[in-house]
């Protein structure tokens, strides 16, 4: 029920004792030439976790922050919650600057990865706690708690302690605790990652249903791209403290801004080929390993718009967009995985690994060990700059 705006948000973990230790660790590793697991910037002020973060979250929008661990997504969420100080930049909730407002006065609720339920209280008391603090009248608390319990289907557990609940039920209680307050913004920090795969799928669809029932703004953090794609109105892909791309799931999937986004969103991962972008008679062609296609019209237009010149590029093609053909790129099938309705073929093409998805169509062909030729068409080829890995169309 509120808009959230983040303006040029930056977070530096400053020099308190723990971070001094972290910083020296980073430096030592750097000096030793060791490749860091993630490229957080180390400055004299400290370790930069998030920077240049600009985002306008619309009222009642479901925003998903997604990225690998250490990309700053949780830090961003915690800054919105007020659990982490904002080093610089401005955070507005409902048009009000809240940089220095206590979490309790921001009218937000948060669901934690570990649920963080109060173990000594019953489910009812866990859910009622925030209302009790606000000194809401007892009968109203009762009404609200029961209403939320109804929505989440946990009415029969209201008298139990969290210890007596399963993981999925605890997760519901944690969500219930957040929604009883009718918060302006509901923050969720990887709420499903402690659940097993089956339960996760189930809870995911329930979150979609829940979202329709409670009208509020959601900010959801996950490292799981499937969750991001299925839940978000828009997703924000992050890496190393920077936003890589903001867009609807479809936009991010179809038009990834750079190689990182293209690789992060979509399973199995996108395949990459070294190739060349050529221009003939004002038309753009891509070529790799002797296989050449003309790019589709929309891509032609966008490349033209940016005056892209001939150059060496990285071609990105999703596994489902590669097909078997007579005249294409030669490769050997190493492993063939039957996924039910389709086959995933793991191939070696030149010196790179390629995955291609082919429909099984009833006939079970054993591809393993065979030499195949694969191809793609001009609609699905993504062209990335060799220099800075950004998508040349944008």
């Amino acid at each position: 029920m509120a808009e959230v705006a983040l303006r040029n948000i930056k977070k530096i973990y400053t020099d308190n004792e723990t971070n001094k230790h972290r910083k020296s660790l980073f430096r030592k590793r750097e000096e030793a030439g060791e490749k860091r697991s993630y490229n957080l910037q180390v400055t004299d002020e400290g370790v930069v976790a998030v920077q240049e973060f600009n985002l306008d979250i619309k009222d009642k929008e479901f925003i998903v922050l997604v990225g690998p661990s250490g990309c700053g997504k949780s830090t961003t969420l915690r800054m919105i919650a007020g659990l982490e100080e904002i080093t610089s930049g401005e955070l507005y909730i409902d048009g009000k600057l809240v940089n220095n407002v206590e979490p309790k006065d921001r009218d937000i609720a948060m669901v934690f990865q570990s649920y963080a339920l109060y173990p000594h209280m019953t489910v009812y008391d866990n859910m009622a706690y925030s209302l009790k603090i606000k000194k809401v009248p007892k009968d109203e608390i009762d009404r609200k708690v029961r209403e939320a319990a109804e929505i989440l289907d946990i009415t029969q557990y209201l008298d139990r302690k969290p210890k007596a609940l399963s993981g999925g039920q605890r997760q519901r209680v944690a969500i219930g605790r957040a929604i009883v307050r009718n918060p302006k913004v509901l923050l969720m920090d990887e709420p499903l990652s402690n659940l097993d795969a089956k339960l996760r799928n189930q809870m995911r669809s329930e979150l979609i249903k829940l979202r329709k029932r409670i009208n509020t703004t959601f900010v959801y953090v996950t490292h799981d791209q499937v969750e991001a794609m299925t839940l978000g109105d828009r997703i924000v892909v992050m890496k190393d403290g920077y936003i890589q791309q903001i867009g609807t799931p479809q936009e991010v999937f179809d038009h990834p801004a750079n190689m990182f986004v293209s690789g992060f969103i979509g399973t199995p991962q996108m395949n990459y080929f070294d190739g060349r972008l050529t221009v003939r008679d004002g038309r753009y062609f891509v070529e790799t390993k002797g296989y050449e296609v003309e790019l589709a019209e929309d891509k032609q237009a966008r490349l033209k718009e940016h005056n892209v010149e001939e150059q060496e590029v990285t071609l990105g093609i999703r596994p489902e967009h590669l097909f078997i053909t007579n005249k294409g790129i030669k490769g050997n099938v190493d492993v063939s995985e039957l996924m039910g309705s389709s086959l995933h073929l793991h191939m070696t093409v030149g010196d790179s690994d390629v995955i291609i998805i082919v429909p099984t169509e009833g006939a079970k062909i054993d591809y393993s060990g065979r030499e195949l030729e694969i191809g793609f068409n001009g609609k699905v080829a993504h062209v990335f700059s060799k220099k800075d890995q950004h998508n040349l169309e944008y």
Binding site: N16, T18, L83, K104, M110, S114, L117, Y118
Partner: protein, 287 residues
């Protein structure tokens, strides 16, 4: 052949059990025998006690009790009351404030946090007898002797209790829970009192028992600070009886007073033994 193997394994098991039980019985005997002896002695007269020791209870228990009760140098009800006030107040305050300190250094980030933590732990290494000298001088200089709160207040600062609480917190309190409470709108003190304290209940129970017993049995400080009969605690009174002049010295009376002194502690242990065991092992295994 197989039967033989079974047989020898059975014998081995039997022998090892005999050894283990033997050791356990011996240790139990060491622990319990002196309690038994104290009860026996409390029921014997001074003359019988002088004559030598026996394992058979005598018939003088009631007389010893009456003698102890009416001794003019001491007053059992007052001693019990004083001991109870000192022990219970210092148990409650010690565990509450140690938990609060532990919570402070665990949850909050501030400058010199580590230094403070280490400083508190370093105090553990200083025996109380060392700091007692200065403390007693201070008490005499400002005429603070014969005041029970002089025993209670200093006991609040208990590094070992703090350390225990801190370890317990590290094992049981996720910081996310504190953050959740903050978002729920709780202020910092409420978070501690309503969320953290209940979670720490087992640890607090254990430390309260230990510090209650420690304070109840404490002789050193009270003996130095208290000489007014109205303010003496039970252990000081036992010492008073023991040092009474030779003609009035009655061992039976002293033993009876000792029995009365340890009875409350024994009752506490019997009632709370389950939670003591739970508390001692908790934190070691993360549930």
């Amino acid at each position: 052949m197989k039967k033989d193997l079974n047989k020898s394994a059975g014998i081995k098991l039997f022998i090892s059990r005999v050894v283990v039980y033997g050791i356990l019985i011996f240790l139990s005997f060491l622990c319990l025998f002196f309690f038994y002896l104290m009860f026996v002695n409390a029921s014997r007269s001074n003359a019988q006690l002088q004559a030598g020791f026996t394992l058979i209870p005598g018939g003088n228990a009631l007389k010893n009790f009456v003698n102890a009760w009416h001794d003019t140098n001491i007053s059992i009800p007052i001693g019990m009351k004083n001991s109870f006030i000192v022990a219970s107040l210092s148990a409650i305050l010690t565990s509450y404030f140690s938990a609060l300190t532990a919570y402070g250094t665990y949850v909050y980030d501030f400058r010199f946090k580590k230094v403070i933590h280490l400083f508190i732990l370093a105090i553990m290494m200083i025996p109380s007898q060392v700091s007692a000298v200065g403390f007693i001088q201070l008490a005499f200089k400002y005429h603070l002797t014969n005041k029970l709160w002089m025993l209670i207040i200093p006991s609040i600062a208990a590094p070992s209790v703090y350390f225990y609480m801190r370890q317990y917190l590290e094992a049981t309190l996720p910081l996310e829970m504190v953050e959740a409470a903050r978002i729920d709108g709780s202020n910092e003190f409420k978070i501690f009192n309503q969320i953290v304290l209940p979670i720490m209940k087992p640890a607090i129970a254990v430390q309260m028992i230990f510090s209650f017993v420690g304070s109840w049995n404490n002789y050193f400080m009270p003996a130095l600070l208290l000489n007014d009969i109205q303010k003496k605690t039970v252990p000081v009174m036992i010492a008073t009886l023991r040092s009474a002049d030779f003609t009035k010295f009655d061992m039976g009376k002293v033993y009876m007073l000792m029995v009365m002194a340890i009875l409350p502690v024994m009752v506490i242990y019997v009632i709370l033994s389950k939670s003591i065991i739970k508390g001692v092992t908790s934190g070691s295994v993360k549930g």
